[in-house]
Symmetry: C2
Subunit: 491 residues, 2 copies
């Protein structure tokens, strides 16, 4: 038993230190004085150095082999699976390559921001080329002769492959483009107009978070430039932002982050400071944020309740009734920016990125050809031209910071959310009656019991399959989207 | 050169990790969700464990001997002096004792809080006995046959001794008690009355911080139960609190913490993440907070300017003019609580604690006899009886958390502030004309140039001596207090 105990004790300290590093990042985005950035860089480097040394500590290999064959509980076996997996990865990537990636991506992010501001893809190209080359190298190191892109994808979604995503997306794309085309032929619903006071937006955001079961005793809501969630267990914090003309930005960002944070808050406390003590993958994490935001938060039943809260907070909001509000919430527009997209078009944005980044990693697409390839594909899937790079291939930060294999987990999260929604609706047939009163508990309790509490206990696809009774496919999501928008747009 | 370089590189990482631990403490007092306390305990334990391992790393001894005799700059020599000193201390205290002190004091703090709330010294006594015994043991381990109390004092004020403090306090006590007696025979000045809106207090606190040169680009002001300052360099944060009836609580706490934070912000940036990168001792630190708060902030010239700010913020504050306001700011009252004390009586509080804690550490005073000893001494120095333990020996948290040797640094800070004030007034003869316009820059610039920028470069008494031209004594402080209160109370 001793090797197992020692390993888990060592891991507990590593997890606690990683939580501290995460808390520093939260501080950086919410509280840190502007002049402290450089100093903070040194602090982060110090703790990341400690974390790297611990994650590559050769004693882990010794403990793992000594623990092999020991009798252990199912959670302990899952913990060891995670530790072995992570340790194997650190062994495969040379320290020099890891350091070079950290160095290059930290600079590339600044270059990207400047290039986006100047709408100048060429200014970003040298950085992109360098980042792609480094990730190719990392992918090859991790893949052991397999597909480098799969190896990168596995960093965010364990055991998922590009081939499986390809099949899934192949099924989704024609149905979504066809639906998009029919919807955009219809007149555009009216959006909100009115005065949306900043403090009222924050007040309502806070109330909405509580409505979705976010526990403020174990978290807090602040502002940041980009909304995010951070931390876990009894300290899972979220952020949002306000926009004077668009209260949906604040409110639905909040609900989205609440989905992430409730996942973290809902994990079995026994798993705290173990590899099971956080959401199991990016895809499953996104399934929680998306189902809170979309299948629950943008449903007719819930928006009916929310309409009353909106008018109480802001007075006249430019739509006459709950039905008009439901249409405004779910408005599909000709637009370019992924993060502002609706449920229908969002996945088209992701598929475009998935295909392009996969081609860049394989070498089939040269970074120099990215802008043209992006614009062609956008035209094909969305039906209109990208006017400038900041609305096209420069809109997302991801590639500049080296995230390749990350984008598809957003759509995977939507697919999982579609599966969970179908199962949840079956399990709670009168859910809409509750949502219409602003009562989300039957939904969030079902998600807690079937998904959230397990943390990292099961494999990503496995936790969805256990919750739904069948292996995840895109069909429930597509059926849901088609039904919703067909009805909404009277197609 | 390599041993020196390696040692300083190692130290830099340790300092950065210590800064992170400090940031976590700030978070705990200002931002942390209430339900996260237990989880945070694990995180703190993890990073404190890392820090302890680094501070006792045997390579430090090797590097120190290898660097011996190396040619180095004066700052490098000072860095090594700090490192050697700290390392020697860690070697002297057995790990088991250090762990036991951490364990016992963390529990004793809770016991003390409950005992204070119940006004029950007996409930705190067993904890106090345990803490005193442990600190006696630590003091003996550190003292190497010398005075254990001196060894503890040295943790907060390097190279200071109880004998020297005793001589200094022996000079102060009769002059202060005599003055206190004469002042309290006079009619008590009128205090403030009015409506002191919370947001206006915070707004004025913020303006005052800026007035004293606090750089908000490298810091921030938040609320906490007890005001404190935290961090350094480009991230030196402060907190304050508000009280609806007493705006001085918020405003002068803010100025006090600004003094601490400006010291940290003012240290030569070259010293960041070295042992020179923080205030050199508790006494010198307190000299900065005190001179900002008292010799500058409570001066007739500055309060004349502040009176206008107060009436602009709060309207009628119950005193008619700047002179009445000056009297209200400096009101001497019969009271019991150290932290609410005026300039005249404050040091009497400290001397009482110094003598009692010294006697407890030497064994001359049994903890069981503390309450009676406290009450006798209070009667002797203040002239009236302590009605209950919460206003007497249970009022401060210090002993419960194991701080023995810490109290006298408060008075030492006052003594240093007295010396600095005398030198500063000589160097800036027209200072009052500036203060009367709310311009503190000639004072804060002088303090920056002569004290703050040096950080840990010189020994504590040495930095004061360099600034003032003579070794520090109590005389300038006593002269200042006597002149101020004689004039104020028309004695």
């Amino acid at each position: 038993m001793s090797a197992l105990t020692d390993l888990l004790e060592f891991q507990k300290e590593t997890e606690a230190l990683a939580a501290i590093a995460g808390r520093l990042e939260w501080d950086q985005e919410t509280m840190m004085p502007p002049g402290a950035a450089e100093q903070r860089g040194e602090e982060q480097a110090a703790i990341q150095g400690i974390l790297h040394a611990r994650r590559t500590d050769p004693r882990i290999a010794d403990w793992l082999s000594a623990a092999d064959g020991t009798e252990m509980s199912a959670p302990q076996a899952a913990m060891l699976r995670h530790i072995r997996r992570d340790y194997d990865k650190t062994q495969k990537v040379p320290a020099k390559l890891a350091a070079e990636i950290a160095r290059v991506t930290s600079v590339a992010q600044g270059t990207w921001a400047a290039a986006r501001a100047a709408d100048d893809f060429q200014a970003f190209l040298p950085s992109l080329e360098r980042v792609v080359a480094l990730r190719q190298e990392e992918g090859q190191a991790l893949a052991d002769g397999g597909d480098p892109y799969d190896a990168l994808l596995d960093n965010y979604e364990a055991e998922m492959t590009a081939a499986r995503l390809d099949a899934m997306f192949g099924e989704m794309r024609p149905r979504l483009t066809a639906l998009r085309e029919r919807v955009l032929e219809k007149p555009e619903p009216k959006g909100l107009t009115g005065t949306f006071r900043d403090d009222k937006q924050m007040e309502l955001a806070r109330a909405l978070a509580a409505t979705f079961g976010y526990d403020f005793n174990r978290g807090r809501l602040d502002r940041s430039v980009h909304p995010f969630s951070s931390g876990g267990g009894s300290d899972a914090r979220i952020t949002t932002r306000t926009s004077p003309d668009d209260p949906f930005n604040c409110l639905y960002s909040t609900i989205h982050e609440v989905g992430h944070a409730c996942y973290e808050q809902g994990i079995d406390p026994e798993y705290l400071f173990t590899p099971l003590g956080q959401g199991v993958s990016m895809g499953v994490h996104e399934s929680q944020s998306r189902i809170y935001e979309n299948q629950i938060g943008r449903s007719r039943a819930f928006t009916g309740w929310l309409f009353d809260q909106m008018t109480a907070a802001f007075g006249d909001i430019g739509v006459a009734d709950a039905e008009g509000f439901y249409h405004a919430v779910n408005r599909v527009q000709k637009a370019f920016i992924r993060t502002e997209s609706d449920e229908l078009q969002y996945n088209l944005h992701i598929m475009l990125r998935f295909d392009l980044e996969r081609a860049m990693v394989s070498g089939d697409l040269k970074p120099a050809d990215l802008e043209a390839a992006w614009n062609d594909r956008f035209k094909a899937d969305f039906g209109y031209d990208v006017p400038r790079a900041s609305l096209g291939c420069l809109q997302d930060v991801h590639w500049s910071v080296g995230l390749f294999g990350y984008f598809p987990t957003y759509s995977l999260g939507n697919v999982y959310a579609g599966c969970l929604n179908a199962a949840m609706r079956k399990a709670v047939p009168d859910l809409d009656a509750h949502l219409a009163k602003g009562d989300t508990a039957p939904a969030t309790t079902w998600l807690h019991d079937n998904v959230q509490r397990h943390g990292g206990l099961y494999r990503p696809a496995e936790v969805i399959e256990k919750a739904c009774g069948t292996a995840p496919t895109a069909a429930p999501l597509l059926d849901y989207i088609e039904a919703k928008f067909t009805e909404l747009y009277d197609l």
